[in-house]
């Protein structure tokens, strides 16, 4: 590699001031190509994942995750190809997975990367179904809500990185899945390809009454919160006793600068928690990295994918420079599946 090739990097230019992290909080810069020293590898980024949960890292106040500093490379899951290896365990051409963020190249001493299992049909699955979003979905199903056959599980964002795996795992457990998605096409996809029983179109004018009707029909045993509070609030009267709620995302409210108007509904929520013996738990997917659950997840999810029981859906966007716009698109419901950026072949 020549030093004349620049390393393009997308850095945080300013902290987001709106609910949606508009693309212009990021800036493209060029840095000198990094060099692989003794014991290091140089990696060419080929794919990166864009995930809504990363939005929390853009905020100054992030007590439970390290915030990205202004001027630093945006964080995120990545897949790449080893270009130069000065490390005994790697050779040029190896496909690796890591978290080196939104840039064309990186160097690693091997401690923060892993080789991608060649049996996996697409290396990009390490960014979704077999990566952090899949791990989060697996923890939701097996640890947080523990859905049983015959129960009804409600989940928002049926096509998102977590939502699509939650929906499919719940079907494999024998549950009835009641999902929501932002367009009719997405709903159709979830029903046709994953067997989702009911999918409610968020863009429909009568979305809320429709959702209410569906909640009322079967009751809700498990609720996976990905989008925000409005639907939860409405689902409250339909929760069965001992229902389990996993709070995994607050997309519609991540950057909220003031409280929604009207009275404080916390008191209603608390009353229902008590009366219905609800169990609510918060989830941060990355907590499970390196746990026994993660090992079990890798093994089981790989089998599901190879056997066709889980069918990941990817929304592929070409070009590193498209990452900021794709991030914004997540919050606007523009992606049709787990968003991944194709950086290079």
């Amino acid at each position: 590699m020549s030093n004349k090739v620049a390393n393009r990097r997308i850095v945080l230019a300013e902290r987001p001031r709106y609910i949606i992290p508009t693309a212009n909080v990021f800036r493209m810069t060029e840095a000198t190509m990094p060099e692989a020293r003794a014991g290091q590898v140089l990696i060419r980024t080929t794919w990166l994942g864009v995930d809504s949960y990363l939005y929390s890292r853009l905020q100054r106040d992030s007590q439970f995750a390290v915030p990205v500093n202004i001027g630093d490379v945006m964080v995120g899951a990545t897949v790449g190809r080893v270009e130069v290896s000065n490390h005994p365990d790697y050779k040029a051409g190896d496909i690796v997975h890591g978290f080196w963020g939104w840039q064309d190249y990186t160097v690693s001493d091997g401690s923060d990367i892993e080789k991608v299992d060649p049996e996996i049909p697409r290396a990009t699955y390490m960014l979704g179904a077999l990566g952090i979003p899949g791990l989060g979905a697996y923890a939701v199903i097996n640890e947080l809500v523990r859905v049983q056959a015959g129960e009804t599980l409600a989940v928002g964002n049926a096509l998102g990185g977590i939502g699509q795996i939650v929906s499919q795992l719940a079907k494999l457990k024998g549950a009835r899945v009641l999902a929501a998605a932002s367009t009719t096409e997405k709903c159709r996809y979830a029903k046709e390809h994953w067997g989702v029983d009911v999918c409610i179109d968020r863009s429909a004018k009568d979305f809320l009454p429709n959702a209410q009707t569906e909640f009322a029909k079967a009751g809700v045993d498990c609720y996976v919160m990905l989008a925000g509070g409005r639907v939860l609030d409405m689902a409250l009267p339909y929760f069965r006793a001992n229902a389990r709620i996993a709070v995994c995302g607050m997309m519609s409210t991540y950057g909220l600068s003031s409280l929604p108007p009207g009275g404080d509904r916390t008191v209603l929520l608390m009353t229902e928690i008590m009366r219905r013996r609800l169990q609510i738990r918060g989830l941060v997917s990355t907590d499970y990295v390196g746990t026994p659950l993660a090992a079990q997840f890798r093994k089981e999810m790989k089998e599901y994918i190879l056997s066709g029981k889980i069918k990941p859906l990817e929304h592929i966007v070409k070009g590193l420079e498209q990452a900021p716009e794709t991030m914004q698109g997540l919050f606007e419901g523009r992606n049709f599946g787990k968003a991944v950026i194709h950086v290079a072949d």
Copy 2:
């Protein structure tokens, strides 16, 4: 017994319209003395327990507990003495425990009563420390929040039926206990007799900033919600990661007819649930009756009481007719300990 002795009964006269169940929702009536037929016993009520959770039974809409009908005897835990026995397992003079409610006499076929263990120092403990409130507290500590030595547990209503047992059990587990009570005297009692580490006086003008200071000092690992949402809201920024919250009571909001003003804080709560990986669970103490946990509770709590490790505090009021006023008093913080009514010797 002569049929000329009337059975005084306190019945529900109307459904409560205010946050506090004012004494006048009840009415004293007189009924003919019941008679013990073959296989039955006639019981003279000697003690009854007054518990705030019974307030939910006064409301028309009670999806998860049977509402008391207008004109029906008010429900509640009771202790009494067998006066006449036509049942092979009971004899006159036996002290029994049941749930026959606010009345002087009742008959039973034995299926809904049990003999009080004569080793228990006071039969009234069956209404508190060894009854439903104690069972709820035991479930909170051992099932819901699972407090560990060295952790900080925050609990409201330190002297109430559940609160006093939660506080003492938490101390036995080696936790630091941060309590609240409605007067300085109550706080002094909790610290002197039960070793509660910090007790914040709810009547103090600077209660909220005081509570905040105490939360900030140690952080909160476990939170037992008995009174209402105002303090929870304030505790949110001080919850440690993976903190456990048990929702066991909403005294300040049971009969709320409109939402507290200001914006909807549910979104803040949900965000903190996710960021801090909080676990929130609702508890209804009676759910545990007849479970293996209840058997373990009875055994363990009896040992604690006999050895002096748990010191129950009772607020004794004399006279069946005082039950409604005592119920109202619970919501006004007038009782100094678990409220029990002495109906007859």
